[in-house]
Protein backbone atom coordinates (compact mmCIF):
# COMPACT_ATOMS: atom_id res chain seq x y z
CA UNK A 1 0.00 0.00 0.00
CA UNK A 2 1.19 3.55 -0.74
CA UNK A 3 1.63 4.98 2.75
CA UNK A 4 2.05 8.65 1.85
CA UNK A 5 -1.18 9.22 -0.08
CA UNK A 6 -3.06 7.20 2.53
CA UNK A 7 -1.74 9.52 5.25
CA UNK A 8 -2.50 12.52 3.07
CA UNK A 9 -6.07 11.25 2.79
CA UNK A 10 -6.42 11.05 6.54
CA UNK A 11 -5.03 14.58 6.95
CA UNK A 12 -7.53 15.77 4.32
CA UNK A 13 -10.32 14.71 6.68
CA UNK A 14 -9.27 17.62 8.92
CA UNK A 15 -6.12 19.03 10.56
CA UNK A 16 -4.54 16.47 12.81
CA UNK A 17 -1.56 15.76 15.08
CA UNK A 18 1.07 13.15 14.28
CA UNK A 19 0.00 10.98 17.20
CA UNK A 20 -3.70 11.08 16.26
CA UNK A 21 -2.77 10.35 12.69
CA UNK A 22 -1.12 7.11 13.72
CA UNK A 23 -4.12 6.06 15.81
CA UNK A 24 -6.47 6.78 12.93
CA UNK A 25 -4.25 4.99 10.43
CA UNK A 26 -4.01 1.84 12.54
CA UNK A 27 -7.78 1.80 13.05
CA UNK A 28 -8.86 2.55 9.47
CA UNK A 29 -6.34 0.37 7.68
CA UNK A 30 -6.71 -2.42 10.18
CA UNK A 31 -3.80 -4.82 10.24
CA UNK A 32 -1.41 -2.47 8.48
CA UNK A 33 0.29 -0.87 11.47
CA UNK A 34 2.66 1.99 10.80
CA UNK A 35 5.62 3.11 12.93
CA UNK A 36 5.90 6.70 14.20
CA UNK A 37 9.22 6.94 12.34
CA UNK A 38 7.49 6.20 9.05
CA UNK A 39 4.77 8.74 9.78
CA UNK A 40 7.17 11.56 10.58
CA UNK A 41 9.34 10.75 7.55
CA UNK A 42 6.24 10.84 5.34
CA UNK A 43 5.05 14.10 6.93
CA UNK A 44 8.45 15.72 6.30
CA UNK A 45 8.36 14.65 2.64
CA UNK A 46 4.82 15.95 2.19
CA UNK A 47 5.74 19.32 3.74
CA UNK A 48 8.76 19.53 1.44
CA UNK A 49 6.50 18.77 -1.57
CA UNK A 50 3.94 21.37 -0.53
CA UNK A 51 1.16 18.83 0.00
CA UNK A 52 0.64 19.71 3.68
CA UNK A 53 1.67 22.48 6.05
CA UNK A 54 2.53 22.33 9.72
CA UNK A 55 0.36 24.76 11.68
CA UNK A 56 1.76 26.75 14.60
CA UNK A 57 3.35 24.71 17.34
CA UNK A 58 1.23 24.38 20.42
CA UNK A 59 3.15 24.33 23.67
CA UNK A 60 1.40 22.18 26.23
CA UNK A 61 2.31 20.16 29.23
CA UNK A 62 4.42 17.83 27.12
CA UNK A 63 6.66 18.49 24.13
CA UNK A 64 5.49 20.99 21.48
CA UNK A 65 2.94 19.48 19.11
CA UNK A 66 2.36 20.33 15.47
CA UNK A 67 -0.92 20.07 13.63
CA UNK A 68 -0.82 19.17 9.99
CA UNK A 69 -3.20 20.49 7.37
CA UNK A 70 -3.63 19.59 3.71
CA UNK A 71 -2.90 22.29 1.08
CA UNK A 72 -4.84 22.88 -2.16
CA UNK A 73 -1.94 21.22 -3.96
CA UNK A 74 -2.20 18.29 -1.55
CA UNK A 75 -5.89 17.91 -2.28
CA UNK A 76 -5.24 17.86 -6.02
CA UNK A 77 -2.52 15.28 -5.52
CA UNK A 78 -4.88 13.15 -3.45
CA UNK A 79 -7.69 13.38 -6.00
CA UNK A 80 -5.31 12.35 -8.78
CA UNK A 81 -4.20 9.35 -6.74
CA UNK A 82 -7.77 8.36 -5.91
CA UNK A 83 -8.91 8.55 -9.49
CA UNK A 84 -6.01 6.90 -11.25
CA UNK A 85 -6.56 3.17 -11.65
CA UNK A 86 -3.67 0.97 -10.55
CA UNK A 87 -1.94 -1.49 -12.82
CA UNK A 88 -3.30 -4.91 -11.85
CA UNK A 89 -0.66 -6.59 -9.69
CA UNK A 90 -0.49 -8.63 -6.49
CA UNK A 91 0.19 -5.43 -4.52
CA UNK A 92 -2.97 -3.83 -5.81
CA UNK A 93 -5.53 -5.09 -3.32
CA UNK A 94 -4.29 -3.09 -0.35
CA UNK A 95 -3.89 0.08 -2.41
CA UNK A 96 -7.37 -0.20 -3.82
CA UNK A 97 -8.66 -0.91 -0.34
CA UNK A 98 -7.05 2.30 0.92
CA UNK A 99 -8.43 4.32 -1.98
CA UNK A 100 -11.93 3.00 -1.45
CA UNK A 101 -11.91 3.68 2.27
CA UNK A 102 -10.53 7.19 1.80
CA UNK A 103 -12.95 7.99 -1.02
CA UNK A 104 -15.81 7.05 1.31
CA UNK A 105 -14.45 9.07 4.22
CA UNK A 106 -13.84 12.14 2.05
CA UNK A 107 -17.25 11.88 0.36
CA UNK A 108 -15.53 11.32 -2.96
CA UNK A 109 -17.14 9.02 -5.51
CA UNK A 110 -16.05 5.55 -4.39
CA UNK A 111 -18.39 3.88 -6.85
CA UNK A 112 -16.74 5.64 -9.73
CA UNK A 113 -13.28 4.78 -8.52
CA UNK A 114 -14.24 1.10 -8.46
CA UNK A 115 -15.78 1.44 -11.95
CA UNK A 116 -12.58 2.96 -13.31
CA UNK A 117 -10.50 0.23 -11.71
CA UNK A 118 -12.86 -2.46 -13.00
CA UNK A 119 -12.49 -1.07 -16.52
CA UNK A 120 -8.69 -1.05 -16.18
CA UNK A 121 -8.76 -4.66 -15.01
CA UNK A 122 -11.01 -5.77 -17.84
CA UNK A 123 -8.79 -3.96 -20.36
CA UNK A 124 -5.76 -5.80 -19.00
CA UNK A 125 -7.64 -9.11 -19.19
CA UNK A 126 -8.44 -8.37 -22.84
CA UNK A 127 -4.76 -7.72 -23.61
CA UNK A 128 -3.73 -10.94 -21.92
CA UNK A 129 -6.49 -12.94 -23.63
CA UNK A 130 -5.34 -11.65 -27.02
CA UNK A 131 -1.73 -12.59 -26.22
CA UNK A 132 -2.84 -16.00 -25.07
CA UNK A 133 -4.54 -16.80 -28.35
CA UNK A 134 -1.28 -17.29 -30.25
CA UNK A 135 0.95 -18.33 -27.33
CA UNK A 136 2.52 -21.78 -26.82
CA UNK A 137 1.04 -23.88 -24.02
CA UNK A 138 3.57 -23.00 -21.33
CA UNK A 139 3.04 -19.31 -21.91
CA UNK A 140 -0.72 -19.81 -21.96
CA UNK A 141 -0.49 -21.30 -18.49
CA UNK A 142 1.50 -18.33 -17.24
CA UNK A 143 -1.04 -15.94 -18.76
CA UNK A 144 -3.84 -17.97 -17.15
CA UNK A 145 -2.23 -17.43 -13.79
CA UNK A 146 -2.23 -13.69 -14.32
CA UNK A 147 -5.85 -13.80 -15.55
CA UNK A 148 -7.05 -15.68 -12.48
CA UNK A 149 -5.37 -13.16 -10.19
CA UNK A 150 -6.99 -10.25 -11.96
CA UNK A 151 -10.29 -12.08 -11.74
CA UNK A 152 -9.88 -12.37 -7.98
CA UNK A 153 -9.40 -8.60 -7.76
CA UNK A 154 -12.50 -8.10 -9.88
CA UNK A 155 -14.54 -10.23 -7.53
CA UNK A 156 -13.35 -8.11 -4.66
CA UNK A 157 -14.28 -4.96 -6.62
CA UNK A 158 -17.79 -6.31 -7.25
CA UNK A 159 -18.29 -7.40 -3.66
CA UNK A 160 -17.08 -4.01 -2.42
CA UNK A 161 -19.27 -2.13 -4.91
CA UNK A 162 -22.27 -3.91 -3.47
CA UNK A 163 -21.34 -2.94 0.10
CA UNK A 164 -20.33 0.71 -0.27
CA UNK A 165 -23.36 2.08 1.52
CA UNK A 166 -22.82 -0.15 4.55
CA UNK A 167 -19.09 0.63 4.61
CA UNK A 168 -19.82 4.34 4.59
CA UNK A 169 -22.16 3.99 7.56
CA UNK A 170 -19.59 2.03 9.52
CA UNK A 171 -16.81 4.51 8.77
CA UNK A 172 -18.87 7.52 9.83
CA UNK A 173 -19.83 5.75 13.04
CA UNK A 174 -16.13 5.08 13.64
CA UNK A 175 -14.97 8.65 12.88
Amino acid sequence: MDTSPALLGLIAEGPTYGYDLKQRYDRVFAGRRIAFGQIYAALARMIRDGLIVALGEEAGAGPARKRYEVTAEGRRHLEDWLRTPDVPSPALASNLFAKTVLALMLDDNADQLLDVQRAAHLARMRELTTLKHSAPLLERLAIDHALFQIEADLRWIDATSARLTDMKKELSADG
Binding site: D115, A120, L122, R126, T129, I150, E151, D158
Partner: protein, 233 residues
Protein backbone atom coordinates in the same frame (compact mmCIF):
# COMPACT_ATOMS: atom_id res chain seq x y z
CA UNK B 1 -26.73 5.09 -48.66
CA UNK B 2 -23.41 3.29 -49.05
CA UNK B 3 -21.78 5.90 -46.82
CA UNK B 4 -24.48 5.54 -44.24
CA UNK B 5 -24.06 1.78 -44.20
CA UNK B 6 -20.37 2.01 -43.52
CA UNK B 7 -20.30 4.86 -41.01
CA UNK B 8 -23.53 4.55 -39.00
CA UNK B 9 -23.44 2.17 -36.05
CA UNK B 10 -25.00 -1.19 -36.83
CA UNK B 11 -27.07 -1.08 -33.67
CA UNK B 12 -28.16 2.16 -32.06
CA UNK B 13 -30.24 2.29 -28.90
CA UNK B 14 -31.40 5.70 -27.69
CA UNK B 15 -33.11 6.56 -24.44
CA UNK B 16 -34.30 3.02 -23.74
CA UNK B 17 -36.68 2.73 -20.81
CA UNK B 18 -38.65 -0.27 -19.73
CA UNK B 19 -40.65 -0.98 -16.59
CA UNK B 20 -42.36 -4.10 -15.33
CA UNK B 21 -45.10 -2.89 -13.02
CA UNK B 22 -43.43 -0.60 -10.47
CA UNK B 23 -39.94 -1.91 -11.28
CA UNK B 24 -37.85 0.19 -13.66
CA UNK B 25 -35.64 -2.35 -15.44
CA UNK B 26 -34.11 0.14 -17.87
CA UNK B 27 -33.74 3.80 -16.92
CA UNK B 28 -32.47 5.45 -20.09
CA UNK B 29 -29.85 3.54 -22.03
CA UNK B 30 -27.93 4.89 -25.02
CA UNK B 31 -25.70 2.45 -26.83
CA UNK B 32 -23.99 2.35 -30.23
CA UNK B 33 -22.45 -0.82 -31.58
CA UNK B 34 -20.42 -0.77 -34.78
CA UNK B 35 -20.51 -3.38 -37.49
CA UNK B 36 -18.10 -6.20 -36.72
CA UNK B 37 -17.67 -5.23 -33.08
CA UNK B 38 -17.68 -7.87 -30.37
CA UNK B 39 -19.16 -6.31 -27.24
CA UNK B 40 -19.48 -8.00 -23.87
CA UNK B 41 -22.63 -7.06 -21.96
CA UNK B 42 -21.99 -7.54 -18.26
CA UNK B 43 -23.87 -6.85 -15.09
CA UNK B 44 -25.16 -8.60 -11.99
CA UNK B 45 -28.46 -10.46 -12.12
CA UNK B 46 -31.34 -8.07 -11.76
CA UNK B 47 -29.31 -5.23 -13.31
CA UNK B 48 -31.48 -4.98 -16.41
CA UNK B 49 -29.00 -6.86 -18.61
CA UNK B 50 -31.55 -9.36 -19.96
CA UNK B 51 -34.17 -6.67 -20.52
CA UNK B 52 -31.65 -4.64 -22.51
CA UNK B 53 -30.74 -7.64 -24.66
CA UNK B 54 -34.40 -8.47 -25.27
CA UNK B 55 -35.09 -4.88 -26.33
CA UNK B 56 -32.04 -4.84 -28.64
CA UNK B 57 -33.15 -8.11 -30.24
CA UNK B 58 -36.70 -6.85 -30.73
CA UNK B 59 -38.15 -9.48 -28.40
CA UNK B 60 -39.39 -6.81 -25.97
CA UNK B 61 -40.74 -3.38 -26.92
CA UNK B 62 -39.30 -0.55 -24.79
CA UNK B 63 -41.69 1.91 -23.08
CA UNK B 64 -39.60 4.79 -24.40
CA UNK B 65 -36.65 5.15 -26.75
CA UNK B 66 -35.87 3.15 -29.83
CA UNK B 67 -33.55 0.56 -31.31
CA UNK B 68 -32.23 0.72 -34.86
CA UNK B 69 -30.63 -2.36 -36.37
CA UNK B 70 -28.90 -2.08 -39.71
CA UNK B 71 -30.91 1.04 -40.56
CA UNK B 72 -34.32 -0.32 -39.51
CA UNK B 73 -36.12 1.26 -36.55
CA UNK B 74 -37.67 -1.62 -34.62
CA UNK B 75 -40.36 0.66 -33.17
CA UNK B 76 -41.83 1.21 -36.65
CA UNK B 77 -42.32 -2.50 -37.29
CA UNK B 78 -45.34 -4.58 -36.34
CA UNK B 79 -44.80 -7.91 -34.57
CA UNK B 80 -44.64 -9.92 -37.80
CA UNK B 81 -42.13 -7.62 -39.41
CA UNK B 82 -40.03 -7.71 -36.24
CA UNK B 83 -40.07 -11.51 -36.28
CA UNK B 84 -38.95 -11.50 -39.93
CA UNK B 85 -36.15 -9.08 -39.12
CA UNK B 86 -35.03 -11.33 -36.27
CA UNK B 87 -34.93 -14.34 -38.60
CA UNK B 88 -32.94 -12.46 -41.20
CA UNK B 89 -30.56 -10.34 -39.14
CA UNK B 90 -30.11 -12.03 -35.78
CA UNK B 91 -28.65 -15.31 -34.55
CA UNK B 92 -28.97 -16.60 -31.00
CA UNK B 93 -26.80 -18.93 -28.92
CA UNK B 94 -27.84 -19.83 -25.38
CA UNK B 95 -26.16 -21.57 -22.48
CA UNK B 96 -27.43 -25.07 -23.28
CA UNK B 97 -30.37 -27.18 -24.38
CA UNK B 98 -30.92 -25.65 -27.77
CA UNK B 99 -30.18 -28.54 -30.13
CA UNK B 100 -32.92 -30.90 -31.23
CA UNK B 101 -31.93 -34.27 -29.76
CA UNK B 102 -33.48 -36.35 -32.57
CA UNK B 103 -31.51 -34.65 -35.33
CA UNK B 104 -27.83 -35.18 -36.13
CA UNK B 105 -25.42 -32.27 -35.76
CA UNK B 106 -25.51 -31.51 -39.46
CA UNK B 107 -29.33 -31.62 -39.57
CA UNK B 108 -29.50 -29.30 -36.57
CA UNK B 109 -27.35 -26.78 -38.41
CA UNK B 110 -29.28 -27.28 -41.65
CA UNK B 111 -32.66 -26.63 -40.03
CA UNK B 112 -32.76 -22.82 -40.28
CA UNK B 113 -31.39 -23.01 -43.83
CA UNK B 114 -34.20 -25.37 -44.83
CA UNK B 115 -36.72 -23.08 -43.16
CA UNK B 116 -35.23 -20.25 -45.21
CA UNK B 117 -36.00 -22.18 -48.41
CA UNK B 118 -32.67 -23.85 -49.23
CA UNK B 119 -32.71 -27.29 -50.84
CA UNK B 120 -31.85 -30.20 -48.56
CA UNK B 121 -28.68 -30.91 -50.45
CA UNK B 122 -27.46 -27.29 -50.42
CA UNK B 123 -28.40 -26.91 -46.75
CA UNK B 124 -26.44 -30.02 -45.74
CA UNK B 125 -23.38 -29.01 -47.78
CA UNK B 126 -23.43 -25.54 -46.23
CA UNK B 127 -23.90 -27.05 -42.76
CA UNK B 128 -20.93 -29.39 -43.12
CA UNK B 129 -18.84 -26.37 -44.10
CA UNK B 130 -19.91 -24.50 -40.93
CA UNK B 131 -19.20 -27.53 -38.75
CA UNK B 132 -15.77 -27.78 -40.36
CA UNK B 133 -15.08 -24.12 -39.54
CA UNK B 134 -15.96 -24.80 -35.91
CA UNK B 135 -13.62 -27.77 -35.75
CA UNK B 136 -16.31 -30.46 -36.04
CA UNK B 137 -15.67 -31.64 -39.60
CA UNK B 138 -15.93 -35.31 -38.63
CA UNK B 139 -18.80 -35.03 -36.13
CA UNK B 140 -21.65 -34.09 -38.44
CA UNK B 141 -23.48 -37.42 -38.23
CA UNK B 142 -23.50 -37.64 -34.45
CA UNK B 143 -26.55 -36.88 -32.36
CA UNK B 144 -26.33 -34.22 -29.63
CA UNK B 145 -26.49 -36.92 -26.94
CA UNK B 146 -23.30 -38.46 -28.34
CA UNK B 147 -21.33 -35.23 -28.11
CA UNK B 148 -19.50 -33.44 -25.30
CA UNK B 149 -20.90 -30.16 -23.97
CA UNK B 150 -18.24 -28.21 -25.84
CA UNK B 151 -19.01 -29.97 -29.12
CA UNK B 152 -22.76 -29.38 -28.69
CA UNK B 153 -22.10 -25.65 -28.14
CA UNK B 154 -20.05 -25.54 -31.32
CA UNK B 155 -22.96 -27.08 -33.19
CA UNK B 156 -25.30 -24.45 -31.72
CA UNK B 157 -22.89 -21.72 -32.80
CA UNK B 158 -22.64 -23.21 -36.30
CA UNK B 159 -26.44 -23.25 -36.51
CA UNK B 160 -26.70 -19.62 -35.35
CA UNK B 161 -24.11 -18.50 -37.91
CA UNK B 162 -25.32 -20.63 -40.83
CA UNK B 163 -27.98 -18.10 -41.82
CA UNK B 164 -25.25 -15.43 -41.87
CA UNK B 165 -26.90 -13.11 -39.37
CA UNK B 166 -25.70 -9.51 -39.07
CA UNK B 167 -25.76 -9.78 -35.29
CA UNK B 168 -25.15 -12.74 -33.02
CA UNK B 169 -26.55 -12.63 -29.48
CA UNK B 170 -24.56 -15.13 -27.42
CA UNK B 171 -26.04 -15.46 -23.93
CA UNK B 172 -23.51 -17.16 -21.61
CA UNK B 173 -22.54 -19.41 -24.55
CA UNK B 174 -19.96 -21.27 -22.47
CA UNK B 175 -21.72 -21.01 -19.12
CA UNK B 176 -22.20 -24.75 -18.83
CA UNK B 177 -18.67 -25.75 -19.87
CA UNK B 178 -15.51 -26.29 -17.85
CA UNK B 179 -12.88 -23.59 -18.29
CA UNK B 180 -10.67 -25.44 -20.79
CA UNK B 181 -13.62 -26.38 -23.03
CA UNK B 182 -15.05 -22.86 -22.66
CA UNK B 183 -11.77 -21.35 -23.78
CA UNK B 184 -11.57 -23.53 -26.84
CA UNK B 185 -15.19 -22.83 -27.84
CA UNK B 186 -14.78 -19.08 -27.35
CA UNK B 187 -11.53 -18.94 -29.32
CA UNK B 188 -13.08 -20.81 -32.22
CA UNK B 189 -16.27 -18.78 -32.13
CA UNK B 190 -14.38 -15.50 -32.08
CA UNK B 191 -12.10 -16.55 -34.95
CA UNK B 192 -15.12 -17.41 -37.07
CA UNK B 193 -17.19 -14.30 -36.27
CA UNK B 194 -14.22 -11.98 -36.77
CA UNK B 195 -13.54 -13.52 -40.15
CA UNK B 196 -17.22 -13.16 -41.13
CA UNK B 197 -17.34 -9.63 -39.57
CA UNK B 198 -20.40 -10.67 -37.62
CA UNK B 199 -21.32 -8.26 -34.85
CA UNK B 200 -21.55 -10.07 -31.52
CA UNK B 201 -23.19 -9.23 -28.23
CA UNK B 202 -21.63 -11.55 -25.72
CA UNK B 203 -23.78 -11.60 -22.61
CA UNK B 204 -21.84 -12.83 -19.61
CA UNK B 205 -21.15 -12.28 -15.94
CA UNK B 206 -17.73 -13.90 -16.31
CA UNK B 207 -14.83 -11.46 -16.83
CA UNK B 208 -12.70 -14.17 -18.44
CA UNK B 209 -15.36 -14.61 -21.10
CA UNK B 210 -15.81 -10.85 -21.47
CA UNK B 211 -12.07 -10.54 -22.10
CA UNK B 212 -12.61 -12.07 -25.55
CA UNK B 213 -14.66 -9.03 -26.60
CA UNK B 214 -13.37 -5.75 -28.04
CA UNK B 215 -14.96 -3.84 -25.18
CA UNK B 216 -17.50 -4.27 -22.45
CA UNK B 217 -20.59 -2.40 -21.35
CA UNK B 218 -21.78 -2.90 -17.81
CA UNK B 219 -25.45 -2.62 -16.89
CA UNK B 220 -26.17 -1.60 -13.33
CA UNK B 221 -29.53 -0.49 -11.95
CA UNK B 222 -30.91 -0.12 -15.45
CA UNK B 223 -28.13 2.16 -16.64
CA UNK B 224 -24.78 1.67 -18.34
CA UNK B 225 -21.63 2.16 -16.35
CA UNK B 226 -18.03 1.06 -16.58
CA UNK B 227 -16.27 1.41 -19.89
CA UNK B 228 -17.90 4.77 -20.56
CA UNK B 229 -15.79 6.13 -17.72
CA UNK B 230 -12.43 4.99 -19.01
CA UNK B 231 -10.22 7.88 -19.96
CA UNK B 232 -12.13 10.32 -17.82
CA UNK B 233 -10.23 11.76 -14.88
Amino acid sequence: MADLATTAPLIRATGLRKSFGPTEALRGIDLDIDRGEVVAVMGPSGSGKSTLIHCLAGVLTPDAGDVTINGTELGRLDADARARLRLKEIGFVFQFGQLLPDLTAVDNVALPLLMGGASRRAARAESYAWLERLGLGDQGDKFPGQMSGGQAQRVAIARALATRPTVLFADEPTGSLDSVAAESVLETMLDVVREARTTVLLITHDPRTAAYADREVIVRDGRLSGSALVGRS
